[in-house]
């Protein structure tokens, strides 16, 4: 019997959905094994059909994107109720992802920036979307834009995580095959990724590390054979789960951490901070400061994808 599946996107760019399509001919396999009941970006988008299902009717729900607004959360809760297995697909559902960087700001700061202050906006009246508006036909409403971006598992229980921004298409396929092959690992597992940090699959030569200056990728022509970190380029590979095939590294860009932390690491960003600070060269306070001055925006760099999934989750107001 074919599996019944729903696919949904919350606060996401759609890259995860594209990654599913990027499984190319394997998509035929997926179609052969699964009936897709909901997939707003590609097929069907009628929430009401889902609401009518019996609880647990779907075998799996695949949710990409962070929880940014009340609609994201509502559908997450809905799909959770209707599915036997909930899968967080991609960095946003898994960790909060790029939208999670908004947790350094408040909802009001965000709305002001987007609708009023942004360089490409002319909004002299200072109009900001309202959540509800009365027209003669009745009340119209928009989902609430949240103050804090959340990961999927902060609003519903999640069985499995497929990490990545976006996840590697083939790994999506193999993760899905775990469902129809009935070979799913213990609940809570990250599937379709490795158990070690990215350095394991990084082709660059790694030596002992001592950093005396940080640089950014546009400032140097890095040695293509040598570990980025050893060249003073902030690379999160050492703290990031492998599985992506080192695709950024192979394209000459340091790892930015989209596959998230390893098991038992509660805070990827802070752990990376500890690792990087540990291998600084200087001992004197002044010299340490000089080196640290060369790291641009350290916290957002270390937490590029994982702020909502970190210990503190957001900036304190």
């Amino acid at each position: 019997m074919k599996l019944k599946v729903g696919i949904y996107w919350g606060a996401a760019c759609g890259g995860c959905d594209v990654a599913i399509l990027d499984t190319h001919e394997k998509l035929l396999d997926i179609a052969a094994k699964m009936d897709i009941y909901l997939w707003p970006i590609a097929l069907d988008f009628k929430y009401d059909d889902v609401k009518k299902m019996e609880d647990g009717y779907l075998d799996a729900a695949i949710y990409s994107g962070a929880i940014r607004n009340s609609e994201n959360e509502e559908i997450a809760i809905l799909l959770r109720k209707k599915s036997k297995v909930m899968i967080a697909l991609g960095a946003c559902a898994h960790l909060g992802g790029i939208p999670g960087l908004a947790n350094f700001y408040t909802r009001d700061e965000m709305l002001k920036r987007i609708y009023i202050d942004s360089e490409s906006t002319i909004n002299e009246e200072g109009v900001i979307p309202l959540e509800s508006w009365n027209v003669k036909e009745g009340e119209l409403d928009l989902p609430r834009f949240y103050n804090t971006v959340k990961t999927l598992d902060q609003v519903v229980d999640v069985e499995y995580y497929i990490p990545g921004c976006p996840p590697v298409p083939l790994q999506i396929y193999s993760a899905l095959s775990l469902i129809w092959d009935d070979m799913l690992p213990p609940v809570g597992s990250v599937i379709g990724a490795g158990d070690k940090a990215l350095c394991e699959s990084c082709p660059r030569v790694k030596e002992e590390k001592t950093i005396s200056e940080f640089k950014r990728i546009q400032q140097v022509l890095p040695d293509p054979e040598k570990c980025f970190l050893e060249q003073g380029l902030v690379c999160l590979g050492a703290a990031t789960r492998s599985g992506c095939g080192a695709r950024c590294i192979k394209s000459g860009v340091p790892c930015r951490g989209c596959y998230g932390p390893l098991d038992d690491v509660p805070d990827l960003g802070i752990k990376m901070l500890s690792a990087i600070a540990s291998v600084l060269e200087p001992k004197e306070e002044k010299e340490i400061d000089d080196v640290l001055d060369t790291i641009v925006d350290p916290l957002r760099t270390f937490h590029r994808f994982s702020m909502p999934a970190s210990i503190l989750r957001r900036k304190k107001e």
Binding site: I67, S70, E74, I77, L78, K150, A277, I311, L312
Partner: protein, 162 residues
């Protein structure tokens, strides 16, 4: 009632914890706000511990290790210093005053200094007021709830203690 801050201290076994013991042996009284966790070396202090302590309700965190050059493990304190310096830089990004995390070198012989450090740190945090990190994070999510027709029970806005 006056605000009594709750402070967590990470003390290295050989210098600072011993220094704190000496304050005890010498009966030097100091503010009762600091609760100490003993680690073998200040080099063991993972910044994650500090973030965790702030999240769990500490109003301030004190790191204390051997003076530079005196580390029982030679250089652990330098590693602690580097991590501390980087951590201090990012605390404002979390909306946390960097003064809430403080590093001090306290030798095994410096019982009096330990007492002084604790008193001064306590005073400093008293002036800064309570941090209430966890509560404030969840307070700022209070409005983040499903306002639309719900498909089930609400989970938003609740502390996720998993």
């Amino acid at each position: 009632m006056e605000f009594e801050p709750k402070l967590v201290g990470f003390l290295c076994n050989w210098c600072s914890y011993t220094g704190a013991d000496l304050a005890g042996t010498a009966r030097i009284s100091y503010a009762p706000n600091l609760r100490a966790i003993r680690v073998m070396c200040s080099g063991r202090i993972d910044p994650t511990f500090i973030i965790k302590a702030l999240y769990e309700g500490a109003d301030g965190v004190l790191i204390a290790g051997c003076h530079p050059g005196d580390c029982h493990y030679q250089e652990g304190n330098y590693k602690a210093l580097r991590r501390y310096k980087l951590l201090k830089r990012i605390l404002p990004e979390y909306g946390v005053e960097p003064e809430r995390v403080h590093l001090e070198w306290v030798a095994a012989s410096e019982g009096e200094k330990f007492a002084k450090v604790v008193n001064e740190f306590t005073d400093k945090i008293k002036k800064l007021g309570p941090l209430n990190m966890k509560q404030s994070i969840f307070d700022s999510m209070k409005e983040d709830i499903v306002v639309h027709e719900s498909a089930g029970e609400e989970k938003g806005g609740e502390a996720d203690e998993a």
